[in-house]
Symmetry: C2
Subunit: 282 residues, 2 copies
């Protein structure tokens, strides 16, 4: 795989570390991409482990960077944050035919699309698992220790990618994840569009189905707000709870009373998630 | 003064407290306004003191609410956050003739305008000092203890309002404030437009000129980033330092190496500002 270098777009000091935006040409996605990185102060003198954060529908790398308040904890704990975009981008990239928020641009669902016209660009699974880590680990002071987290569609992505690659991620967490997309309206629309009607192809991207049969599972922490507009229909947290129970894995799935689907919820608990991952990234 | 009641637009749980948006008809501004409030968990059972936050050019109440990460500290310290908009709003409110970002809508500069066509609506000084506190203290579980802070144009507003009303605000802080608007390009444009060419009318809205002669001054904390694009020309921090020195007041004015004008800077130090105010709000 040929990957071009990453180019710095902006850099801002934050909690003594560096909040940086990069752009690059993605060989996997066949388009120009941007992503954000937070390098903690410790990265000035040593290599640090990384937490990958996958964002939700409509987001770019900027939502988590500006709203979650994660940098203060990453700075204390010496963890880099790697914050990719949520889909391929650019005029050449096909969108939903009605420019809907839940498919196409801003809604890549972290799958490798097999269906035209999406199968050229929509390879977010490979981008997150392979191309982006290879790029940032070559260019930045990172160890090869990785954890993964995300929100909503990105919580789905974090669970799926973490479960399918236990040798690459030492811990997994999620806020308000789409736990069983094969049976949720968002997931059914996305999987039909990207993967086609054959539901046997969907299983590899469904956290609840994966968790049921997973052999080696990294520690998992999930937070779900009880006042979330998308809970339970779209998110189907109960399916993940059931799978965790059947497989007897190390998964803490918490229902947080009164919290909604927003970044106010994420901000309230991101410190606990960073501390959770820090145990395993050491 | 007749003021209508405030109406809740939205409410979200955040760090165990409530992030709320209200709307109301402003008698002072002659338009409908929105503002945000964070009520810490302590407000469930007791009245709490309030920190007013004044935002900068182009902002609404949402920037500080979503990006500063202040709620976690307010929740710990038992302080309410009152977060107003930065200008009158609505189709009837005159804007800059070229819709510039630094005058008119989103740029009220916390003055009482005297010049047509701005003198009907642009009374942000009275709105912040009188109408808004009266409304929120009648409707919410607040004590009459108040502190004030802000960013850039809002840092100017916090300093000016705090200095002119020492009996109403027990402490003052600011990030990247416009310290001497009578001599900065932003301030000269705004004051000419809102107050007219008579510079004697400008002095009451210039923190450096006010601080030089102030009799009773609340404790002041100011943070200014050294990598701020608007420093020193627009912000003129040295004028505030000089005035504080001449008047021998309790003002700590800190230059933070490498930080810029953004909310990444505010987030990095908002905890210290909340702790500073908490000493005096007790």
């Amino acid at each position: 795989m040929t990957t071009s270098a990453i180019t710095k777009v902006s850099e801002q000091l934050c909690f003594g570390g560096k909040q940086i935006r990069y752009k690059h040409q993605s060989a996997v996605l066949h388009c120009d991409m941007q992503f954000s990185v937070f390098l903690p102060p410790q990265a000035e003198t040593a290599r640090v482990p990384a937490l990958y954060w996958l964002s939700g529908l409509t987001c770019t790398d900027e939502n988590f960077s500006s709203k979650a308040g994660a940098q203060q904890f990453a700075a204390k704990l010496g963890i880099a944050l790697i914050i990719p975009d949520t889909s391929p981008r650019g005029d050449d990239v096909p969108d939903d035919e009605n420019a809907a928020y839940d498919f196409g641009l801003g809604a890549g669902f972290y799958v490798n699309a097999t269906q035209a016209p999406f199968n050229k660009h929509y390879k977010m699974y490979d981008y997150i698992v392979s191309e982006l880590p290879e790029l940032v680990e070559a260019a930045l002071p990172l160890t090869d220790k990785r954890a993964i987290s995300g929100h909503s569609m990105g919580g789905h992505g974090a669970l799926v990618i973490g479960l399918r690659n236990p040798e690459r991620y030492c811990s997994i967490s999620a806020f308000s994840p789409i736990c069983n997309p094969a049976n949720s309206p968002w997931g059914i629309k996305a999987f039909n569009g990207y993967l086609g009607e054959d539901r046997s192809q969907w299983q590899q991207y469904d956290a609840s189905l994966l968790l049921r049969d997973a052999k080696k599972v990294a520690p998992i922490l999930v937070d779900q707000g009880s006042a979330d507009n998308f809970y339970p229909e779209q998110l189907r947290t109960a399916s993940l709870v059931e799978a965790a129970s059947l497989n007897d894995v190390n998964a803490e799935i918490r229902l947080q009373p009164g919290y909604d689907h927003s970044y106010y919820f994420i901000a309230s608990f991101i410190g606990e998630h960073l501390h959770f991952h820090a145990q395993y990234l050491k």
